[in-house]
Amino acid sequence: MASETEYVTLVSSDDYSFVVLRSSAIKSPAIKRMLDPAYGFAESKTNTCHFENINGLVLEKVCEYFYYYQKHKDSKDVADMDFPIELSLELVMAADYLDSTVPFEENSKRRQDMLI
């Protein structure tokens, strides 16, 4: 796969797109997996990830977090990142989703199981 770009695009459910450094976006195991050519997902070809369950506001914070994390990777006594309280619940959901190392099929199945 020749087109391992430096930047990748993350698109929210309400069609806001965020262009972020690949190196910081792959902090999320889910995104890393999506973009890994070895798995052959469509995302890895277009270098674009669509998130149907994350809206623009939340995704913006997530991207902010990616950079915050990368910036403070080797430092200690890091100040906490600030975000509005009303976003925290949605962010928890997003974080849980993006943190999952389970393959997507299983993941979505788990979600369906939970719904039932």
Binding site: V62, Y65, Y68, Y69, H72, K73, D74, S75, K76, D77, V78, D80, M81, F83, I85, S88, L89, L91, V92, M93, A94, A95, D96, L98, D99, M114
Partner: protein, 619 residues
């Protein structure tokens, strides 16, 4: 003086301006005199250049005193100047204090005074504050109100009516509160987080950040929505830790579709909260309640009635439940129960209850009894008859003879995966031998706080043992305790050099968690052999070598080299450890004489470089 004179004088009608000037001790005559003086002075200067050379270079002509004849004027001018300066200072001070400490500090750092000067100038040109008693329009709500000495100033400099002023004061207070967070406390919190293993350097995870935020605003959260159970559990843990798990917040964690209810600190919950818990979550399979001190018989009764699927019961300090109820719980739910964990039971729960539990709950595979005061030998003996038992943790206060333990191990050992025997002070080598002979699937072994079993016993346990390498070993505080003989007897008691070598040789390849704190008799040589840098322990993440007083700096360096996966090394009371340079991503906790912090965290240096630096320091 002037007052008396003024009182005798008969005055005609005066304008408001004259009144104002008089009130502020400004006299028109004086202004005129000053003006005259300055004018003549300027003229004199223009004509005679020699005169100007006598004056100080910095002082302006107008301000400098000239001639003894004008002594009085000079004094007066000085006085007025002083007053003027005082006024400006006062305004400056007021300004600064109004801005709050945070901003002030920032100013200092910026050394940006021009802004301040500008503010002062603004203040001087601002409309004078109306005197008390006058009417004024409120800046915020535009209502007319009477000015009092206590009227607050609004954000744009106008005055505020009393209700708006109160609002503003409230806001200001909150702002101040938010701004004032003592640095000391923050630092301590950070250390505490590190010791808890939350902060391991770098940034916290987004999940952690969110959860903390939610916990901090627990009062404002109405509903948590359908967040995943794993997150919910984590959140519940944090709520418990912050002691905000109250009847109001409990509701957030109860959902009809859940199968788990986990409340690690239920101390605030009362009978009706427990009822609510079982009413809302009837499908409950797993119940974890810590500090369940207000859990009564009636609650268990209701639970038995509502929750038919209960499999996992974990209660901590449920002292209001009496023996009869425990018996009922086991009898009615017996075959379904798989996990029982009980801690801190003082008032009830006797050996007979355990015997009943063993009879009625054949499917139990995990049992933990800790600090249950009434349990003793009979309970331990009874546990041997649980056919499916795989995980067993015991800490029994009463004396339990080694033979009873041996019997238990020989009956159940063959399928045990976890065996944790804490504080069985009298357990001797025969117990270790029984473990060696019977256990073949152990994954976690704890045998701690014992001063009877000998080094030879541990050595033979780990030598030629059919059990595959263990991932979790905790043999802390196995040592001889005789104050008169700190070195211990010839034949070492507890895990000592040869036992430690045998243990690492057996379990080294899979070991993840090692606790040998207070194993005082392990010699330096054994540590050097085990952590020699050449031998690698690929899985080892957590090591506790506290109070192993032979450990020195080279052992620490050896550990860094031998354990590539190491995350946390606890070394309280190792007094020979000095000048350690901690490599990246390892937390070293408790090394004494650490000047900066109790915990040292490696930054950006990898193992080889760190060891290189240590060698330099040592040389």
């Amino acid at each position: 003086m002037s007052g008396r004179r003024g009182g005798n004088r008969i005055r005609g009608p005066q304008s408001a301006l004259t009144d104002f000037l008089a009130a502020n001790n400004i006299s028109a005559a004086q202004i005129r005199d000053d003006y005259e003086r300055r004018r003549t002075q300027a003229e004199a200067q223009a004509t005679g250049g020699a005169e100007s050379s006598t004056q100080a270079p910095g002082a302006s002509a107008a301000e400098s005193p000239v001639g003894e004849t004008e002594e009085q004027t000079e004094a007066r001018t000085n006085k007025r100047k002083r007053r003027e300066k005082d006024a400006i200072d006062k305004i400056k001070n007021d300004k600064a204090s109004k801005k709050g400490p945070k901003k002030k500090q920032k100013k200092k750092h910026d050394s940006d005074d021009s802004d301040d000067e500008y503010d002062v100038a603004q203040d001087m040109y601002r409309k004078a504050r109306p005197a008390p008693g006058q009417f004024e329009y409120c800046e915020v709500c535009s209502k007319r109100f009477t000015v009092t000495p206590y009227s607050k100033e609004g954000p744009d400099g106008g005055l505020l009516c009393t209700p708006c002023g109160k609002e503003l004061a409230k806001d200001m207070k909150q702002e101040k509160k938010a701004a004032m967070k003592p640095a000391g406390r923050k630092r301590r919190k950070l250390e505490s987080d590190r010791l808890d293993g939350i902060a391991a350097g770098g940034a916290k995870s987004l999940m952690q950040l969110c959860i903390e935020k939610i916990a901090a605003h627990h009062d404002d959260v109405e509903e948590l929505g359908d967040i995943p159970p794993t997150v919910l559990e984590r959140l519940s843990e944090i709520f418990s830790k912050k002691r905000v798990m109250k009847p109001r917040t409990l509701r957030l964690f109860l959902r009809g579709d859940l199968e788990d209810v986990v409340v690690h600190d239920a101390a605030y919950l009362e009978e009706e909260d427990y009822h609510q818990m079982f009413a809302v979550v009837p499908k409950m399979k797993r119940l974890v309640l810590g500090n369940a001190c207000q859990m009564k018989d009636e609650v268990i009764d209701y639970m038995l009635e509502r929750c038919k699927d209960l499999k996992h019961v974990h209660l901590y300090a449920a002292n209001l439940v009496n023996d009869k109820m425990w018996l009922r719980l086991f009898r009615e739910r017996g075959p379904k129960l798989e996990i029982i964990k009980l801690k801190w039971l003082d008032a009830s729960f006797e050996d007979a209850v355990v015997q009943e539990m063993v009879q009625s709950c054949p499917n139990l595979d995990r049992v933990k009894f800790k600090l249950c005061r009434k349990l003793g030998e009979d309970a331990v003996a009874a546990l041997g008859d649980l056919p499916k038992l795989q995980h067993l943790s015991l800490q029994i206060g009463r004396e339990v003879p080694s033979t009873t333990l041996c019997e238990l191990v020989s009956k159940r050992g063959s399928q045990l995966r976890t065996l944790s025997l804490e504080k069985f002070v009298d357990a001797d080598d025969t117990v270790l031998q029984a473990i060696h002979d019977n256990c073949g699937y152990l994954n976690k072994l704890r045998f701690s706080e014992n001063d009877t079993a000998t080094d030879a016993g541990y050595t033979s346990l780990f030598t030629e043992w059919q059990n595959p390498p263990i991932t979790f070993v905790d043999v802390n505080s196995t040592r001889d305790i005789d104050n008169n003989n700190p070195e211990g007897p010839e034949e070492a008691i507890g895990v000592a050099s040869s036992g430690f070598r045998a243990m690492m040789a057996h379990s080294g390849p899979a070991l993840k968690h090692l606790d040998i704190s207070s194993c005082r008799h392990i010699e330096l040589g054994a540590f050097m052999d085990v952590f020699n840098g050449g031998q690698s322990y690929p899985a080892l993440e957590h090591i506790n070598i506290s109070f192993c007083n032979r450990v020195d700096t080279s052992v620490i360096a050896g550990i860094f080299k031998s354990c590539p996966a190491l995350k946390k090394l606890v070394a309280f009371g190792c007094f020979d450890v000095q000048d350690v340079v901690v490599p990246r991503s390892i937390a070293l906790i408790g090394v004494p004489r650490a000047q900066d912090a109790i915990e040292q965290f490696g930054v950006g240096i990898d193992v080889d470089e760190a060891i290189g630096r240590m060698v330099e320091v040592g040389a």
